[in-house]
């Protein structure tokens, strides 16, 4: 396993573009901390941090939600690390040199697992530091509650990156694979629209959409701002109830894990079937 990771590390780290993207990704993750200094120019100026977004345990939800946007950086790296193997024909050479097809897919999957894990650890550390600085509640039991958002974050990244891997193998060209990713996003919405409009009720369409890969990843960590006291109050004033189910559910995690397995296995099956 270490050997497979080392193989992938040599390939990635010697590629300048990948290196820059990976480094920028992790730097950006740290930059979540900068949100704390954002000031709204109302009156004397309201610090975003004063709105309570850095309160434990809300911060776990908020930061994982924000951090998940940066995954696009790594998506580019992952899609191209797969597609480049085809365009350089190095996948052929790797196999001839004695890497099995299983090992090849496994080395890629292990790499994205490491990416997801390190990202999660990063977000954990950054959030912990931010929280300790700004949170109004500092009891240990409160700090370490709601940690399921970190698990959801990890699973979300893992699922998304596995999808990218699969697209890289499937499409073989990095630019097209990224285009395909966007196309797929639209396709899911389109399917939802068609289903709700013609075939089923909108509720059924929504629950079908919830098992689509991109939608299920989206559902893992819901948009957090409506949880804020300030926003809730605002809602009450204009007469709408903004309460919603923001929790992470086990079945949502399961759906994404199933997709992850499907993507990894499909990548392997595709590789096994193809003549290089």
């Amino acid at each position: 396993m270490i050997r497979l990771l080392q193989i992938e590390f040599i390939k990635l780290w010697n590629n300048r573009a990948s290196k820059i993207l990976i480094v920028s990704y992790f730097v950006l993750l740290c930059c979540i901390a900068l949100i704390s200094v954002i000031k709204f120019p109302f009156g004397k100026g309201i610090l975003l941090a004063d709105l309570g977004i850095f309160n434990f345990p809300y911060i776990w939800h908020f930061n994982t939600f924000i951090a998940a946007f940066f995954k696009l950086f790594l998506a580019i790296v992952i899609v191209s690390m797969m597609a480049n193997e085809y365009s350089n024909k190095t996948i052929k050479q790797n196999l001839i040199d004695g890497l099995s097809k299983k090992e090849f897919v496994l080395s890629k999957f292990l790499t994205v697992s490491i990416f997801s894990l390190v990202s999660t650890i990063f977000v954990f550390i950054v959030s912990l530091i931010l929280g300790l600085k700004y949170s109004d509640y500092n009891e240990i039991s409160i700090i370490f509650s709601d940690l399921e958002f970190l698990l959801a974050f990890f699973v979300k990244l893992l699922g998304f990156f596995s999808f990218c891997l699969f697209l890289g193998i499937f499409v073989k060209k990095s630019a097209f694979a990224l285009g395909f990713l966007v196309l797929w996003l639209i396709f899911e919405q389109f399917m939802y629209g068609i289903l709700g409009w013609k075939f089923t009720s909108w509720e059924t369409a929504q629950s079908i959409k919830n098992v689509f890969p991109m939608e299920s990843m989206q559902n893992l960590i819901k948009e957090p701002s409506r949880r804020l006291d300030a926003v809730q109050e605002l809602g009450n004033q204009i007469g709408t109830n903004l309460s919603y189910d923001y929790h992470v559910h086990w079945y949502q995690i399961l759906i994404v894990l199933v997709w992850t397995m499907v993507f990894v296995y499909a990548s392997y099956a595709l590789l096994e079937k193809r003549d290089l």
Binding site: K11, N88, K89, I96, G98, S100, E272, D275
Partner: protein, 300 residues
């Protein structure tokens, strides 16, 4: 004799096209094999199948008497097929380090192998800056990193300039001299003739011949003769009885043997008959002539 590779009834179809048809052969340790055949005769497909990059339609093959899985076996094999494939953004030594990791061998042979192919002074240049000849040499260095039990080369001199071709051939000869089993696929006959002891001849995916180079055509060779009295000479040769065919072109008489006869005997015989030769050479058919004869014979 230890078998390195055994191929049984291998068939590969691309849609309606049959690239390899019911092919069987065995590679034994210590020999230098050539796979010969015109372009599109299934050489690369066959190598692709045994190297785990092309899926077979039917038949089977086994490496090292079938004791190990294909990808484990490939760690003991060195192979270059078609173009050299490396990561363009990595230097030669970085690329070779990666190969070491894949083959699970230590990295201390990198310098030695780069030295062998004459790339040591360019080891820190990026692969993309290499010329085709250098890329091909790097590929050979990479294939040798694990001191393979068999080296497989598919058209190693394709697209190279004469100097590059010469360099590659010198390297192959050096490796063959060390006793490494070599399998060389080529459509260049003189290339195969210079280094191979055994040949497998393919045409349209079918095996025409497999065996030693010498045994390819059961022939006794032929004489090339010149004399001032060609008509008389031909007359005498026709009556001799050891010749199957006598050709006369451009003042040169070619007499093909059907029985063993050495040059001294023939010279003495002709002298006694009153014919004095100005030119006498006994030759065996070159591989090229044998190959053409064989492919012609099969198509008739």
């Amino acid at each position: 004799m230890e078998n390195i590779l055994k191929v049984n009834n291998l068939t590969k179809k691309y849609g309606s096209l049959t690239a390899v048809k019911d092919l069987s052969f065995t590679i034994e340790k210590g020999n230098v094999y050539g796979i010969l055949g015109p372009n599109g005769s299934g050489k690369s497909t066959t190598l692709g199948i045994v190297l785990n990059v092309v899926n077979r339609t039917s038949g089977n093959f086994s490496w090292f008497n079938g004791n190990v899985s294909t990808h484990e076996a490939l760690k003991r094999v060195g192979a270059i097929i078609e173009r050299p494939n490396f990561y363009p953004y990595m230097t030669a030594s970085q690329n070779l380090k990666l190969v070491c990791k894949i083959k699970n061998v230590s990295e201390n042979k990198i310098e030695e192998k780069l030295e062998l192919v004459g790339l040591l002074d360019r080891k820190d240049s990026k692969f993309r800056s290499y010329s085709l000849g250098m890329k091909q040499r790097l590929a050979i260095a990479s294939a040798l990193l694990n001191d393979p039990e068999i080296l497989i080369l598919d058209e190693p001199t394709n697209g190279l300039d004469p100097q590059g071709i010469h360099q590659i051939r010198e390297i192959i000869k050096k490796i063959a001299a060390q006793g490494t089993t070599i399998l060389l696929a080529s459509h260049l006959l003189d290339e195969v003739e210079k280094v191979c002891s055994h040949v497998i001849i393919l045409r349209k995916g079918e095996k025409l011949y497999a065996g030693s180079v010498d045994g390819m055509l059961a022939s006794y060779g032929f004489f090339e003769l010149k004399s001032k009295q060609p008509e008389k000479l031909i007359n005498i040769l026709e009556k001799h009885g050891d010749f199957s065919e006598i050709k006369f072109a451009n003042g040169l008489i070619t007499a093909i043997l059907k029985a063993e006869l050495n040059a001294e005997e023939l010279n003495k015989y002709l002298f006694n008959k009153g014919v004095i030769l100005s030119h006498l050479v006994k030759r065996k058919e070159s591989l090229e002539e044998q190959f053409l004869a064989l492919t012609k014979k099969q198509s008739n």
